[in-house]
C-alpha cells in the first residue's frame, strides 16, 4: 500500500482547529445550562407553615438539623421536601438508548475503516 503523506498544516489552520474544538466543548457543556435544560429534575413540595412533625422528622433528626444550623422546620423544609422526578416517557428512554448505541456503532465502524488503513500501511497488504 502506498504510504500516505499528510498535508502540512499552517499555524493558522492549527489555531483554527483548536478554536473549533474549544467552541464545541464549551458549547456542549454550557448551552444546556444557558437554555435552562441542564441540572437535576428536582421538585420542591410547598408546605404551608411546615412543622417538624409534618416534615416527618423525629426528635433525633430535629436535634441533628439544629446542629447543622437549621433552627426551625421552615429553614430546613426546602431541603427536606426536595425530590427528584423520576417519571419518564418510554419514547425518551428509547431515544436515549438509540443515541448511545448509534454513537458507539458509528464510532466503531469509522474507527475500523481508519484502522484497516493503518494496519495495511504498517504491515503491508497480504
Amino acid at each position: 500500500m502506498a504510504r500516505y503523506t499528510p498535508p502540512p498544516q499552517s499555524k493558522l489552520g492549527q489555531i483554527f482547529d483548536v478554536i473549533v474544538l474549544l467552541a464545541l466543548t464549551v458549547g456542549a457543556l454550557y448551552i444546556p445550562l444557558w437554555l435552562g435544560m441542564a441540572g437535576s429534575a428536582q421538585l420542591h413540595d410547598t408546605v404551608d407553615a411546615p412543622s417538624w412533625e409534618s416534615l416527618q422528622q423525629n426528635a433525633t433528626m430535629v436535634e441533628q438539623w439544629a446542629k447543622l444550623g437549621f433552627a426551625d422546620a421552615e429553614a430546613a423544609a426546602p431541603l427536606i421536601t426536595a425530590r427528584f422526578d423520576y417519571s419518564f416517557s418510554f419514547f425518551a428512554l428509547i431515544a436515549v438508548i438509540v443515541t448511545v448505541l448509534g454513537y458507539y456503532t458509528m464510532m466503531l465502524k469509522l474507527s475500523e475503516k481508519e484502522y484497516r488503513d493503518v494496519i495495511a500501511e504498517k504491515f503491508g497488504e497480504e
Binding site: L24, T25, A38, A95
Partner: protein, 473 residues
Amino acid sequence: MSDITRNTPGIAEASEAAPTQNGGLLRVLGPAHIWALGVGIVLVGEYMGWNFAVGKGGAYAALIACWFAGILYSCVAMIDSEVTSTVAAAGGQYTQAKHIIGPLMAFNVGLYLVFAYTMLEAANAITVGFLVETVAGMTGHEGLNPQPFIVLAIMFLAWLNYRGVLATLTFNLVITAFAFTAILILFLATSPLFGESPLKHAELMTGLPYGWLGVLAAMHFGLWFYLGIEGTCQAAEEVRSPSRSLPFGTLAGVMTLAIAATLTWYLCVGLMPWEYLGQSGAPLFDAARMSGSTALTVLLGIGTLFATLASANGCINDASRAWFAMGRDHYLPSWFGAVHPVYRTPYRSIIFLVPIALIFALGAPLDQVITFSILSGLLEYTFMPLNVIMFRRKWPLDTIKRGYEHPFHPVPAIVLLCLCGITFFAVFLGYGTQLVAMIAFYIVVSLWFHFRRYRFVQRAAQFTMPWPKPQGY
C-alpha cells in the same frame, strides 16, 4: 524503534535500567506513586460528591451503589491493568484505543480522559472555594468571595505540574496519605470503641425514599466514590517498571477506596439526616462538625483541602498527558506534543488546559460539573470491555507478552458492560438532558475528526508497539 516500544514487558530490562528517555518523559515513578496518583485523584470523592447518591436514592441506595460501583471499578482495574501493562505509554487508554480499536475511537477516548479529569479538577477547585468560604463564615468573616481561591488553587497546581512529575506526585503521596488518615481518625474517634459515640444510625436511617428505582438512580453518583482510579495508566510512560507498578498500584488503590468509601458512608449516615446529606457540599467536614470536636473539625477541614488539592493535582497530570499524547500523534495540533527541555513535562498541554478548568470552575454549578465528569468517565468505561475483547481477539495470549493477564476473561468485560448500561439509565433518571448533550457533542467532534482532522495524521506511524500483525487483518 521508538521510545514507547522499548517499554514493552518483553524487553523491559533496557528501559527500566535507564532513568530517562531522550526527548521523552522522565521515568522515575514507583508503585507508591501510582497508588498515590490513583487514590489521590479519587479520595476527594469521599470528601464531596458521593453524597449526591444519597439524594438520588436515600442512604441505603448510596451504600448499594457504592458496592456495585466497587465491582464496576474492580473490573475496570483488572482490564486496565492487563492492557496498560502491555501498552505502557503516555495517554493511557487513548494509546490503547489507538493500537487496538482505531484512530477515531482513540480520539474520543482522549477527549473522555481530558474532560473527565478537567471537570473533576474544576469540581475540586469549586470545593476548595466552598471550604474556604465555609471556614470564613464559621470564623466570623461572612460573605468571603471564593473565586480568588479557586483561581489560586488551579494556578498553583498547574505550576507544580509544570515543574516536574516526581515532585508533583510526591506531594500527592503526602497529602493523600494525610487525607486518608483523617478519615480513619474520624471513624475511630466517633465509633463506639472509645466511649460514647455520636453516631445515631437507628434514629436517622430511613427506608428507600424512591424505592428500588432510587437504588438504580444512585449508581450515577455512586461512581464518584472511585471515579478517576483508571488515571494510573496516564503515568505508564513515567514508571520505572510498568508491568509491576501499574497492576499493583491500581488494584491496591481500588481496595483502599472501597474501604474509605464504606467508612465514609457509615460515618455520614450516622450523623446527618439523609435529606441534608444528599445535598451537602462537604459531607465529611460536616460530619466532623457534628461530632462536636474542634480538633476533628480542623483535621477534616485540612483533610478536605488536601483531598481536593491532591485530586486536582492528579487531574492536571492526567489530562495534560492525554492532551500531550494526542498532540504528539497530530490528532491535535502538534504544538501540544512538546516536552519541556528542562523539567521534561508536557508543559504546553498543562498551560493550555488551565483556562478551560477555570471557565468551568468559575461558571458552572458543582453537581453539573460532576455530572459532566462522570459522563465522560462512563463513556470511557463502556469503551474498556470492547477494548479488552478486541485485544484478546487480535492478539491472543500466546502472541504477545503481557505484563499482567487478568483472570476469568470475558466475565469482567461482560459485568462491566452491564454495569455501564445500568449507570447510563441512572444518569438518564434526573440528568437526561446532559446525557444527550454530551453524546451529541461526541458525535459532532467524531465527524469533525474523521472528515477534517484525520487528514493531518500519518497512518502507519500511529502504530508504535512492536507487535505482530493483528489477527483478522
